[in-house]
C-alpha cells in the first residue's frame, strides 16, 4: 500500500475481490438539451439494466445512487416501480468516485446477506438545465463557505479555472505541452467517432483543429473541456455464483481502492498540486485484484478536462510522475494503438458528460466483447473515478 502522506491517504476496504460481478447494464441516449429530467433518464437506464440482466424490478433488493445528484433514490425507485419489498440502500454510489465504489458497496451488502441484486444509477439533465443555471458542475461548489468567501471573490471558480491552474503548473514542472493534452482529446474523439452512441460521433477532429480551438482558461482550450449532456446509465451487481446463471458473461469486480485528499475540494490548498488522490486509490485496487498496471487491457478515467486524465495516468502508476505527456503521445491511447487503450467510448470529452457511470458500462461491454471500439482480447478493465476530495479505482475482469 502507498504510505500515508501529508495530503491524503488510502481508505481501508474489505477485500471482496472476486465475490460479485456486474451482470446487467442499461443506458439512455446521450444528447444535448432533451427537455427530460434526471429522474426520467435514470428510470429508463434502470429499466434497461434490469432487463439486460434478465431480471425484473421486483428482483432488485439493493439500490445505490449519489447523494450529490439523487436522480433515482429510494423514494423515486419505489414510486416508479411500485416496489414494496426490502431494499438495501446507499447514497454513496452513482457516478464519479461512486461509480467505482458501487460494486464494492453492493459486495458488502451481498456478503452480509442484506441484498442479492443491487442496482446503481446515475443520470443528469444538465444540458437541459444549463439555460437556467439551476444545475451544472459549479452549482454544488457554491455551497462551500470557504469558496464563497475566499475563492469566488478572486475569480478562482469554477472547475475550468481550477484545472487550468493545475495544468499550467504541470507544464512548468514537467514540460507538458498543449500537444500532449491534445493527444488525450484526440483519442477520446477518435473513439467517439467509432461509437454511434457518442454525442461527438459525427465530428472528427485533427490536432490542428484541437490547437486552433478557442482558449477557455489558458492553457485549456475548448476541446480540453468536457461536454455538458443529458443522459444516464445503470448497472446491476450480484454475487459471482448468481452471475454465472444469468444471461451475460460476468464482469467480475476483482479489486476496488479508495483514496482521499485532506484538502478536499480546495485545490489551491493541495500540497501535491499536480496530483489526485487516485495515487492512494489505485495501489489498493491493484493489490486486491492481484494485478499491476502492465496487466490492464483498457482504462477509462473520469476526464472532465484532459489534464485530469494525464495526471491520473501518472498517479495510477502507468508511468512516472511528470512522464504523462510523452506517455500519451504517438497514438498510445487508441483502442488499437498497442499501448494503453483509454476512454474507448469517448469519455466525458466526446461521449457524454454523465460523470463516470458510462465509463463503467463501457468496461462491461469491453469484457463482453461488444464495445464499439473493441479492444481485442480484453480481460482486465480499469475505471478511475474522481470527485476531487476523493478518487477510486475499480478493476473488472472476465470470469477467470
Amino acid at each position: 500500500m502507498t504510505p500515508a502522506s501529508a495530503w491524503g491517504q488510502p481508505v481501508d476496504l474489505v477485500d471482496l475481490g472476486g465475490s460479485v460481478a456486474i451482470v446487467g447494464i442499461g443506458e439512455t441516449s446521450y444528447t444535448g438539451p432533451s427537455g427530460r429530467t434526471g429522474r426520467g433518464l435514470a428510470i429508463e437506464a434502470a429499466e434497461r439494466a434490469i432487463a439486460d440482466a434478465g431480471l425484473t424490478p421486483d428482483d432488485i433488493d439493493g439500490l445505490t445512487w449519489s447523494a450529490a445528484e439523487p436522480a433515482l433514490d429510494e423514494a423515486a425507485f419505489r414510486e416508479h416501480f411500485g416496489h414494496r419489498g426490502e431494499l438495501f440502500t446507499s447514497a454513496m454510489g452513482g457516478g464519479m468516485t461512486g461509480a467505482a465504489m458501487a460494486p464494492h458497496i453492493a459486495a458488502q451488502a451481498i456478503a452480509e446477506g442484506r441484498a442479492t441484486h443491487v442496482l446503481n444509477t446515475y443520470a443528469v439533465a444538465w444540458a437541459t438545465e444549463r439555460a437556467s443555471m439551476t444545475g451544472g458542475p459549479g452549482k454544488g461548489h457554491l455551497t462551500f463557505p470557504e469558496k464563497v468567501n475566499l475563492e469566488v471573490p478572486f475569480g478562482f471558480f469554477p472547475q475550468p479555472i481550477y484545472f487550468a491552474a493545475i495544468a499550467r503548473r504541470h507544464m512548468i514542472d514537467f514540460g507538458t505541452t498543449s500537444a500532449h493534452l491534445g493527444e488525450i482529446a484526440l483519442a477520446c474523439r477518435a473513439h467517439a467517432n467509432l461509437n454511434p452512441d457518442a454525442v461527438m460521433h459525427d465530428r472528427p477532429m485533427s490536432m490542428s483543429e484541437y490547437l486552433d480551438s478557442p482558449m477557455i482558461t489558458d492553457p485549456l482550450r475548448k476541446y480540453d473541456c468536457c461536454l455538458i449532456s443529458d443522459g444516464g446509465a445503470a448497472f446491476v451487481t450480484t454475487s459471482i455464483d448468481r452471475a454465472r446463471h444469468l444471461r451475460h458473461p460476468p464482469a467480475v469486480m476483482a479489486g476496488v481502492g479508495l483514496g482521499t485528499s485532506n484538502t478536499m475540494y480546495h485545490w489551491s490548498l493541495q500540497p501535491a498540486f499536480t496530483s489526485t488522490p487516485q495515487q492512494f486509490a489505485a495501489p489498493g485496487a491493484f493489490a486486491m485484484a492481484g494485478i499491476g498496471p502492465d496487466d490492464v487491457d483498457v482504462l477509462t478515467l473520469y476526464d472532465p478536462f484532459t489534464i485530469l486524465s494525464l495526471i491520473q495516468i501518472e498517479d495510477m502508476g502507468f508511468c512516472g510522475k511528470g512522464e504523462g505527456g510523452p506517455f500519451v503521445s504517438g497514438g498510445r491511447l487508441r483502442h488499437d494503438g498497442g499501448g494503453l487503450p483509454f476512454n474507448t467510448h469517448g469519455g466525458l470529452l466526446s461521449h457524454a458528460y454523465v460523470l463516470g457511470i458510462a465509463h463503467v458500462v463501457e468496461l462491461v461491454k469491453q469484457l463482453r466483447g461488444t464495445a464499439a471500439a473493441q479492444v481485442s482480447g480484453c480481460e482486465v478493465a480499469v475505471y478511475g473515478g474522481y470527485t476531487g476530495g476523493d478518487a477510486a479505482t475499480l478493476v473488472l475482469t472476465g470470469d477467470r
Binding site: N149, V152, R168, P214, I216
Partner: protein, 113 residues
Amino acid sequence: MKLHHDFPFPDPADQLTSGFWSAADRLELAIPRCARCLRWVWYPEAVCPTCAEPDPAWTATSGRASLFTWTEVHRALLPEYADWCLTSLRSSRSRRIRRFAWSRGWSVHVRLT
C-alpha cells in the same frame, strides 16, 4: 439568471473569514496564525488543527510572494464575470486599463514567501 441576483460576494459577517477582509481594509494581507505553535492556519479554522489552541489570530504577512501558477480567463464562466472578461479583451492596447484587466480577467496564484 438566478445566480445574477444571488451572486455570492464574500460575507463580511462570516466569523471565520471576516478577519481577512478587515485586514484588507487596512491594506494588509493577513493569515491566521496559532499563538501557541506559531503555525499558519489556512484556510481559517476555529482552532489550530495542529495543537488545538483556539482562535488563531489574523496576522499580517510581508506580502512578498512568488508566482506559482496562473490562468488567463478567456470566457466568462458565470454571467457576473462577463464584464471582466470583456474588459480584458477590449482594452488590450491600453497599458493603463490592461493592468486593470489583469486584476479581473486573470486568476493568479502566488506562494507567500
